[in-house]
Symmetry: C2
Subunit: 228 residues, 2 copies
């Protein structure tokens, strides 16, 4: 690979905004930095992109290394390329956002990564670098996507009640929704299928549903457009 270094190159990193739903509340996973700069501050999990991996792979690798999370929904968000994002040197960062079913990963992630913690969005500490800005973009993107795509299910367990789904939408979008209208609408879509089991608690048991992505894809091809 002959290449003349005519100009100095910016370094390239990835950063991941990991969202999870905990007790009906939207949370984000942060890592406490052990090294300078911003030592002791909380930051998004991330790191350098290696020359032999795709940028997507780098995001998945860093996520696994720093938080123990694997096989989660991951999508590119935006590339942050301002000059002094990192005080050490010129670093361009490709930001991703991930959605995890927190119920499954809660204990695991906590044990794998000692310095990792979930923070409620209303309670995020000051972040290192421009990670506050990245987080804001991710929240905005999540809100947008949630309305127009079936990504909310990535935050819920495989089987969930309609109330759980509604509360997710209410928590993320910050609005109150009418129960009857909400149920009418999502059931009319016809890609939520009831499963045999029922949820239990100190009250009437609820029907559980799962998201049928095959049905969903079929509908999409027929020109159907998700919107909630």
């Amino acid at each position: 690979m002959a290449f003349t270094y005519e100009y100095a190159r910016p370094a390239l990193t990835v950063d991941c905004v990991v969202f999870g739903l905990d007790e009906g509340e939207l949370k984000v996973l942060l890592i406490q930095r052990g090294l300078k700069p911003f030592r002791g501050r909380w930051a998004l999990p991330g790191g350098f992109v290696r020359v032999s991996e795709t940028v997507d792979d780098a995001a998945r690798r860093e996520l696994a290394e720093e938080s123990g999370l694997k096989n989660v929904f991951l999508e590119q968000l935006y590339t942050f390329g301002a000059l002094y994002r990192d005080p050490r040197e010129r670093v361009v960062s490709v930001a991703y956002y991930a959605l995890v079913r927190l119920a499954d990963f809660k204990t695991k992630a906590a044990s794998d990564a000692k310095a990792a913690r979930w923070f409620a969005l209303s309670n995020v500490p000051p972040l290192a670098f421009d990670h506050g800005e990245i987080l804001e973009s991710a929240i905005a993107r999540l809100r947008g996507k949630l309305r127009y795509g079936p990504i909310g299910f990535e935050l819920l367990p495989d089987k969930f009640t309609l109330s759980q789904l509604q509360h997710l939408y209410e928590a993320v979008l910050g609005v109150a929704l009418d129960k009857r209208n909400f149920r009418k609408k999502v059931l009319a879509f016809d890609f939520l299928v009831p499963v045999a089991e029922q949820a239990k608690g100190a009250h009437r048991p609820a029907q559980l549903y799962r998201f049928d992505s095959v049905k969903y894809q079929r509908l999409r091809k027929q020109g159907f457009n998700f919107e909630l």
Copy 2:
């Protein structure tokens, strides 16, 4: 700037998908490559990001250098980070898309950049690298944004007729729209203001309008949501 090169770094470039509207047809600006690899093939304008400029600035600089276009609408699209995009070495590219008022720039761009040409979308030649894929993403993004944001005006002259606007939507979205419903809707938005002049031609003259971005921003702050 002390930095240890623990790992080899991917190179970082920008590529720009430039859209223009020519005689009611959507076109894209391509550059014919003079160097290997893909010598002679058509490609998107773009180049390396310098260490002392932001990524956005790199896109603007390359656009100006390779096509003579300045002060155009420019927005980041997506970052392409596959391994063998470029046969020479590992290159990650941040793609942008730009919208230009072709009527203003047509002659200028043609003279500034000898190897630059506008291609109708239905007539794009095979492109170098993964630029075909980038172009596809840009078209998808343009279609999406056009429905939900006031970016169509970036493709039209400052003063335009409602028919021109409608034809733009029909051309980009590939659908036929009802004239009366279209006019009713856009005029109800109340951010198109009629100007004194009229368009002329071999037929009845049409009222010209301009997009009032101040009015638009005011509406946005009041919770208004553009959708067409």
